[in-house]
């Protein structure tokens, strides 16, 4: 089979085409590609929604004494604002909790694992579909149900969950406890929705692992798997083994709220001056352990797919093999293992003793080793290549330093002493957002630009792509870089009025002579008396960047939709001249994916093999001499356009 003859594919597509009713083909589909696209769209909608929540929060932080513009007249909204239209603490807490939840559980994980994993994994291993197509559909619908519940909870009388995305007990147990119908409060619905989302992820993880282990095509041995598939396998295991404890925690908190148990309610708890009506004897720390047992591996669930997408794009666009493929595979496995035994570094200030804290500090520092191996391999992969700076490659290139900053700023947090100072400040926010926002999300954007031609048969606009990339890079840094400074100055992340209280206190401290802090400031001559005030001004830089970032997502949205209709048609099935198996399928791939049984003849990244006529040897070609000359799109991609 030749990879690049378009006309035969059209014919073949007709042969393979089963007439299916619309609802079966696009809505209740069991085809992994349709499900992947469903995941993709749903999660993009949730990402946009989560971003919107954050923009409102940023208004309250930057301009705590001004009314929210545009939204104050909307009835639902104004019910949560105060009389003059300012954001209230309740609204801020609600949006803060839901921003985190939506971004992590409804946005990025489904986009990275659900959408890319579903679409690309079976193609890359040469499988006709996932191992359990109907289960795959079930996981999407469970996910959607969970997402809808989360969304609906905003419109309940109690509003959505307000206890932070971590939902720590006993705060989460007692929030909105005075509502008559406890089940229909946002806080309870959060738990129900989480249970659905977790179930969905578990089913998805079983499906992925099973597919990768059992459905690899002929010749696709373990060390011929593209790195993306490896990352998916490890991600699948992380989800499979780390999510159940959170499900336990959710069930137990649900019992605490609905059945009145006291798993996480200590003896003698008082809520607003009244003794809380529960038997007591529980432990709030237990919740944190169960939560972070998931939530730390979850960090790697967020980052690994993006990192692996970048690992696919870089060799393709540098025309060089992935440097240290095997090392990366082993590193990712070690990473997956270590991810399970580092969780309590989120809990240094819970009063853990030195012995156990030392253990967690050690494992936390250890886990940076495989992370650095991964990122270094990606960096070295670019060394000496003739790089095609097309849009996916731009995002992939930006991913490396952004993830690097996010990772390296995590090191101080790995040690309990600096963590005591930095815990719950903006420093932490900046650290993990650098990993997740300019890191993961850039990786995912790169993936969208990279695989779009395979989905639609058309390229995305390069011009709009550049208009999307450069401002995004600028404003991402505009948002998160100031947070490091603010965080080190001690700004707390939950201050809904952007540190107004802090401003007063700090000016007081610095203004009063002979106080301890003022003396230190004087001696060191580092912190000037109005330093704190200037820190607060950074809020405006951050918020402004956030809103501008939103504006510059518009080119992407336009690009995503109109390129389907007006984008340049691809002239071959392999427009980027890539080597992995997904490019052997017709464009777009039909139900069942491959026209004839695919065979993997070689490793995944054989670019510029010495002695070969072409600069790439696809996995699916047994004789490299048959590979046609470079396709047109590939040639154009050579130049860094615009």
């Amino acid at each position: 089979m030749s990879a690049a003859t378009a006309e035969t594919h059209d014919q073949a597509q007709e042969e393979h085409h089963h007439v299916e009713p619309f609802w079966k083909k696009y809505i209740f589909s069991t085809d992994h590609k349709t499900i992947g696209i469903q995941y993709g769209f749903t999660s993009l909608v949730f990402l946009a929604f989560g971003f919107f929540l954050m923009m409102v929060m940023r208004w309250s932080i930057a301009y705590p004494d001004r009314a929210v513009p545009l939204l104050a007249d909307w009835p639902w909204f104004q019910a949560w604002l105060d009389d003059s239209g300012k954001v209230t603490g309740d609204l801020y807490n609600m949006f803060g909790a839901m921003h985190g939840t939506i971004m992590v559980f409804l946005g990025i994980v489904p986009l990275a694992f659900g959408a890319f994993g579903n679409y690309v994994t079976p193609l890359q291993i040469g499988a006709p579909d996932m191992a359990f197509p109907r289960l795959n559909m079930a996981s999407y619908w469970l996910y959607l149900l969970g997402g809808v519940l989360m969304f609906v909870s905003f419109f309940l009388p109690s509003g959505a969950a307000k206890a932070g995305w971590t939902n720590y007990s006993p705060l989460a147990t007692t929030t909105d406890i005075h509502y008559g119908d406890l089940f229909w409060t946002g806080q309870t619905q959060w738990l129900v929705a989480m249970a659905l989302l977790i179930t969905s992820s578990l089913l998805g993880a079983v499906n992925f692992i099973c597919t990768i282990i059992n459905l690899r095509c002929r010749g696709m041995s373990w060390m011929r798997l593209p790195f993306f598939v490896w990352a998916m396998l490890v991600t699948g295991f992380l989800l499979l083994l780390a999510f159940p404890p959170l499900e336990v925690a959710a069930i137990m908190q649900l019992m605490d709220r609905m059945a009145g148990t006291s798993f996480f309610v200590p003896t003698g708890l008082n809520v607003s001056g009244m003794s809380f009506d529960a038997a007591g004897g529980g432990s709030p720390l237990l919740y944190q352990h169960l939560f972070w047992f998931l939530a730390h591996p979850e960090v790697y669930v967020l980052i690994l797919p993006a990192l692996a997408i970048v690992a696919e794009i870089i060799p393709c666009n540098t025309r060089k093999p992935l440097w240290g493929y095997k090392t990366m595979v082993y590193a990712v496995m070690v990473l997956g293992f270590l991810a399970f035994i580092v969780w309590a570094h989120h809990m240094y200030i819970t009063g853990m003793g030195p012995a156990i804290s030392t253990f967690f500090q050690t494992t936390t520092v250890l886990i940076s080793v495989p992370s650095v191996i991964l990122i270094t391999s990606l960096l070295i992969s670019m060394w000496g290549g003739s790089i095609r700076f097309n849009v996916p490659m731009l995002f992939a290139t930006a991913f490396i330093p952004m993830f690097g900053i996010g990772g390296l700023t995590g090191l101080p947090l790995a040690f309990s002493l600096p963590d005591l100072h930095l815990h719950d400040t903006y420093y932490v926010i900046a650290h993990f957002h650098y990993v997740v926002a300019p890191g993961t999300i850039f990786g995912l954007f790169a993936g969208i630009y990279h695989w779009y031609p395979k989905l639609t048969g058309r390229m995305m606009s390069t011009r709009l792509g550049h208009l999307h990339f450069w401002p995004s890079l600028l404003f991402m840094n505009g948002i998160f870089a100031p947070m490091f400074i603010q965080g080190m100055a001690g700004f707390h992340r939950r201050a809904f009025d952007g540190g107004k209280a802090y401003e007063q206190i700090s000016t007081q401290i610095f203004a009063e002579p002979n106080t301890f802090l003022a003396n230190i400031a004087e001696i060191l001559n580092v912190i000037e008396p109005d330093a704190a005030l200037r820190m607060i001004d950074l809020n405006i830089v951050t918020s402004g960047s956030a809103w501008l970032l939103a504006v510059f997502q518009v080119p992407f949205i336009i690009n995503l939709f109109i390129s389907k209709f007006v984008g340049k048609k691809v002239s071959s099935d392999n427009p980027w001249d890539a080597t992995t198996l997904e490019w052997a399928t017709p464009t777009p791939p039909p139900h069942g994916n491959f026209l004839s049984e695919p065979v993997a003849y070689r490793g995944p990244y054989e670019y510029s093999v010495p002695g070969e006529a072409s600069d790439f040897c696809p996995q699916f070609e047994d004789d490299p001499s048959k590979i046609p000359a470079k396709s047109e799109a590939g040639k154009e991609g050579d130049k860094p356009a615009v």
């Binding site: 104050a72 019910a79 009389d83 499988a127 579909d129 459905l215 148990t261 038997a279």
Partner: protein, 487 residues
């Protein structure tokens, strides 16, 4: 399109898809129950003596539940054997035998769930505990199975925000009074409300009206602020309303929905309140046992529980029995030259005692004493049932417990303490697994014939996979039985 390895195993992994899938699923189940077991350990180890509720253990606490658990273990083991035999029958292509085994397995699942139901019913409906202010605990039963604050209402105040006020659920069915709106929106027109559905409709209508009004007002306020008015009139929209009943109405309030109550007012936790006259807030209770584990030994004789029970005979009997049990402990520790640990004195011996109140006491005393001494020996529990039956006859004497003496109370449901919480959570989750597994196996039994004729090997695979799940359910119970009932 056909998915490879649906029936035949893949050469290099030796597994067909479904088997690999179910093993992966079981791995996540191991983590699920692993999380619950670690919660069990964490909570149990974390108990602070004398502060938290003690962990109930042993035969004299769990009584005949131990036997139910024991039978359930055997039932589940038998069903596991049934599944493997059904699988072998399929491998031997013996459809009849396969069906016999499968129905036996499902029968076992039904028996298991029935026994579980008996146990839940007994815990939820026939065991109730009251913890008094000084941490002494009375175990027994509520007189009318439910606990209500009885109140005679005259007026109700509600806030026209949020959800429908909870107080309407406390009005007995068919006794809904005629309310007249006396304050708040609708008071000028003299709106009358005749039923709870009318009240809900009125509430929703007025809530919408108020929220619209509030929107308007705030708009005005913001406009004034923006235009630089020096002292803008602040927003004031009252959302409170008062309903007055034409005649006093009965209110049986669930104490868990009430924040505070006094002789003239009941405050519900959602902010609604009813004014009127308190009829009684005492708890009518039948005492079976007194438990003083959380009271310091030297303070046990002055515990308020004796004031509440107000029965000298019962008190005397309690301490006689305690002495007997101390004797038993001394018999164990003194020959070994050890001192009885404080934890033993507090934690275990005073666990449960039978006290008998009122006139029956004198007649039965000798008998009881014998029973008490006997009890200190570990004894087979067939007598447990007899003992409980005995209570039914003797304890028709009830007492009134003043509510302000009560710290916490509840049936032996999940609320009652961490043991009960984890017991109910784990067994209910396990029960759901049993039901789910049984339904899947039932499906294979009833609708398996078509597949059997087409590809018997495929059906055998399905039974193997369903069986793997079933064995796992059995396996979890193997751990639950000793941890929940015996240790």
């Amino acid at each position: 399109m056909e998915i490879p390895h649906e029936v035949t195993p893949r050469r290099d992994t030796g597994l067909y898809n479904a088997k690999l899938g179910v093993w992966l699923f079981l791995a996540s189940e191991v983590m699920l129950f692993g999380g619950l077991f670690s919660a069990y350990i964490f909570l149990r180890v974390g108990i602070q003596d004398g502060v938290d509720n003690p962990w109930p253990w042993g035969l004299n606490v769990h009584k005949d539940f131990v036997w139910l658990g024991f039978i359930n273990t055997l039932v589940l083991i038998a069903s596991s054997v049934g599944v493997v035999f059904a699988w072998v029958a399929l491998k031997e292509r013996n459809w009849k035998l396969y069906q016999v085994y499968m129905y036996a397995v499902i029968g076992c699942a039904v028996i298991f769930m029935c026994l579980k139901g008996i146990e839940y019913n007994s815990k939820l409906n026939h065991h109730f505990g009251i913890k008094l202010k000084d941490n002494s605990v009375m175990e027994g039963e509520l007189v009318n199975k439910t606990d209500r604050i009885r109140f005679e209402g005259a007026t109700a105040s509600v806030s026209l925000q949020g959800a429908v006020p909870v107080f309407i659920k406390s009005i007995p069915k068919g006794e809904f009074p005629i309310f007249k709106v006396t304050e708040g929106p609708g008071s000028e027109e003299g709106v009358e409300i005749h039923s709870d559905s009318e009240l809900k409709a009125w509430f929703h209508k007025e809530r919408r009206a108020i929220s619209a009004k509030l929107t308007e007002e705030r708009k005005r306020y913001r406009a004034e602020l923006a235009s630089g008015v020096a002292n803008p009139t602040p927003v004031s929209v009252s959302s409170s309303a008062k309903l007055t009943s034409s005649e006093p109405f009965v209110l049986n309030a669930n104490p868990r929905k009430v924040v505070l109550h006094s002789d003239s007012v009941v405050n519900f936790k959602d902010g609604s309140k009813v004014e009127g006259k308190l009829i009684s807030d005492d708890v009518e209770f039948i005492v079976h046992e007194v438990d003083l584990q959380l009271v310091l030994p030297q303070k046990q004789r002055e515990s308020i529980v004796w004031d509440v029970i107000n029965d000298e005979g019962a008190k005397q009997q309690f301490f006689e029995q305690q002495d007997a049990e101390y004797r038993h402990l001394r018999e164990y520790y003194e020959p070994r030259g050890e001192v009885i640990p404080e934890k033993m004195l507090r934690g275990h011996i005073l666990n449960l005692h039978d006290v008998h109140l009122g006139g029956h006491h004198g007649d039965d005393h000798g008998d009881d004493h014998h029973d008490a001494v006997h009890k200190s020996e570990p004894k087979p529990s067939a007598e447990g049932a007899h003992e409980e039956a005995a209570h039914e006859h003797e304890d028709d004497h009830s007492i009134s417990v003043p509510r302000d003496q009560i710290k916490f109370m509840g049936n032996h449901g999940p609320r009652y303490g961490n043991y009960y919480a984890i017991y109910f959570t784990m067994t209910a989750l396990h029960g759901l697994h049993v039901i789910g597994g049984a339904l899947v196996l039932l499906f294979f039994t009833v609708f398996g014939k078509k597949l059997y004729l087409k590809n018997p090997e495929h059906l055998a695979n399905r039974i193997e996979v369903g069986g793997l799940f079933w064995h796992f359910v059995d396996l979890i119970w193997i751990f639950l039985f000793p941890l929940m009932y015996l240790l």
